[in-house]
């Protein structure tokens, strides 16, 4: 029996020999010293090019209307809402890593939390654009806010659009607060180490006068704990709400109570995927292998596998419920998913979200970063396909055959999808050069603890 349960030796969460000074040097060095490399410039140039396409698309959309996309009645949601759900879900995974791991005192999170939190902020910001552009008259989006007006205008609280608005706003505020508060001590470190006066003033203003007093640390810890405590339920409540956008619809395939937990599984799954996709190149680009160790990649890969199995269980349960109910509309919708014109969407979703992730059971695969990176990219792609599958296959053939119709994406659909990826990457790349990507003060504490244990 012992051979079955024997554990692999634990890899360290921080390279041996690291101490407070070496952490500060290498992390703040990325911001203050590292010359702007060709790879970073190349990546930013590529991301900016995609962002440019996005901007052109937005201008064209504001001029010509949502008709530039392939959506129409009956498939009125299509890419825009797929992108919205995909991006906000990615953010949820990031918050889960930083907040839930903080509350449960997982010390390995110290080096990954900043990366995950910034990913959250940018993903949620990008996601918020899609419901607005999908409005038809995006310039009236502020009507969603219950402001005192003279038109007797009041938001429609029963509309899922209204829920989206509050979900995004609440989530954005809390995740920005969480990211910023957590950065204060590190901003102060940058202020103290900056050689140029202008930089020192820039970081000094952002650091809000942080001096590292014992009292400061005590307050920081209680604020972080409170924000983490707020964020963990928000991950679940906000994404449940996104799921209820669908559940409240009466079309077959949406009108189901399984959606909230099912969507949360998907959110964590794609969030872990995005963390891996960002962390694996970042650690090489900025030489942070001592802190973003093999252990981190392996642990997040395991989490991604766990979330993946949870979502696979949800797929199975959803399919079982459909056939168990014997509801003829539901059964027809499900058979359409298996064999209809969009069957490739369903089967590719299964290939990416069920089949390929099984490789992560093997330690050898988890230690191979190229393999983990490719699998994580596949997960992101699979989760995007899954949302499109959910939206299109439920809408294109509903109860009345006279209302059936197909959905075909246009060039602008893809321009908005890849453009949003470009915007996200641009924000992320710029952030990674301006702000410390790893939490220096938490790594110092971690290094201190490790050195104490080793004597």
């Amino acid at each position: 029996m012992s051979t079955v349960f024997s554990r692999e030796p634990q890899l360290p969460v921080i390279a041996p020999g690291e101490n407070a000074l070496s952490v500060t040097r290498s992390v703040s060095g990325v911001v203050l010293k590292l010359p702007v490399g060709l790879r970073w410039m190349g990546s930013l140039g590529f991301a900016m090019m995609l962002t440019g396409i996005f901007l052109v698309g937005i201008c064209w959309l504001l001029y010509a209307g949502v008709g530039i996309w392939g959506l129409n009645i009956p498939v009125a949601w299509a890419f825009a809402i797929t992108n919205y759900v995909w991006w906000i879900a990615i953010g949820m995974g990031g918050t889960f890593i930083s907040a839930a791991m903080y509350v449960t005192r997982q010390d390995w999170r110290a080096s990954i939390n900043r990366l995950a939190e910034s990913m959250t902020v940018f993903a949620v910001a990008v996601s918020g654009l899609f419901p607005i552009f999908h409005l038809g008259r995006p310039w009236f989006f502020y009507w969603l806010f219950p402001y005192p007006d003279i038109m007797d205008l009041w938001p429609q609280w029963r509309s899922s659009l209204e829920w989206d608005f509050w979900a995004i706003i609440a989530y954005l505020i809390v995740s920005i607060a969480f990211l910023y508060v957590g950065m204060l001590p590190d901003l102060a470190t940058l202020r103290d180490r900056a050689r140029r006066r202008l930089l020192a003033i820039f970081y000094g203003l952002l650091a809000l006068g942080w001096r590292g007093e014992a009292q400061h640390w005590r307050r920081l810890e209680s604020v972080t704990l409170m924000l983490a405590g707020l964020s963990v339920p928000l991950v679940f409540s906000v994404h449940s709400m996104v799921a209820l956008d669908f559940s409240e619809g009466l079309v077959p395939g949406w009108h189901s109570t399984i959606f909230p937990p099912y969507f949360i599984a998907g959110a964590l799954f794609s969030g872990f995927g995005m963390v891996l996709v960002l962390a694996i190149p970042m650690r090489r680009l900025f030489g942070l292998q001592a802190y973003l160790t093999d252990r981190h990649i392996s642990v997040i890969a395991k989490l991604m596998l766990a979330a993946g199995l949870w979502i696979d269980y949800s797929y199975a349960s959803e399919i079982f419920t459909v056939f168990y109910s014997m509801d003829k509309f539901d059964v027809r919708m499900e058979m359409n998913r298996f064999l209809g014109p969009y069957a490739w969407l369903f089967w590719s979703t299964m290939a990416f979200n069920f089949v390929q992730i099984q490789l992560l059971w093997f330690e050898r695969v988890r230690r191979n970063h190229v393999a983990v990176f490719v699998i994580a990219l596949g997960v992101l792609y699979g989760m995007w396909l899954e949302r499109l599958m959910l939206i299109v296959t439920s809408l294109y053939q509903d109860f009345m055959p006279s209302a059936w119709g197909m959905f075909y994406p246009t060039f602008w659909d893809f321009a908005f999808l890849f453009g949003s990826v470009g915007l996200f990457l641009s924000l992320y790349l710029v952030f990674s050069r301006l702000m410390p990507m790893l939490s220096m003060y938490e790594l110092r504490k971690l290094a201190h603890k490790r050195n104490e244990v080793e004597g």
């Binding site: 407070a20 500060t24 001590p185 470190t189 001096r211 590292g212 007093e213 014992a214 009292q215 640390w217 005590r218 920081l220 810890e221 003060y441 938490e442 110092r444 504490k445 201190h448």
Partner: protein
């Protein structure tokens, strides 16, 4: 110039020494004391500013 003493500064090699020193100065009755550290040290704030 009269050498008027405004305060004393001391640097400590690690967290435990700093924590010990904080407890000791407090115990000896000093009131205006503060400690600065590069990361949160458990019990340091409580030692200096007990509530």
């Amino acid at each position: 110039m009269s050498a008027k003493l405004h305060g004393l500064l001391a640097e400590f090699a690690d967290a435990e020494q700093l924590h010990g020193a904080a407890l000791r100065t407090k115990r000896e009755g000093y009131v205006f004391i503060e400690a600065y550290s590069p990361y949160a040290i458990e019990g340091l704030a409580e030692a200096l500013h007990p509530r």
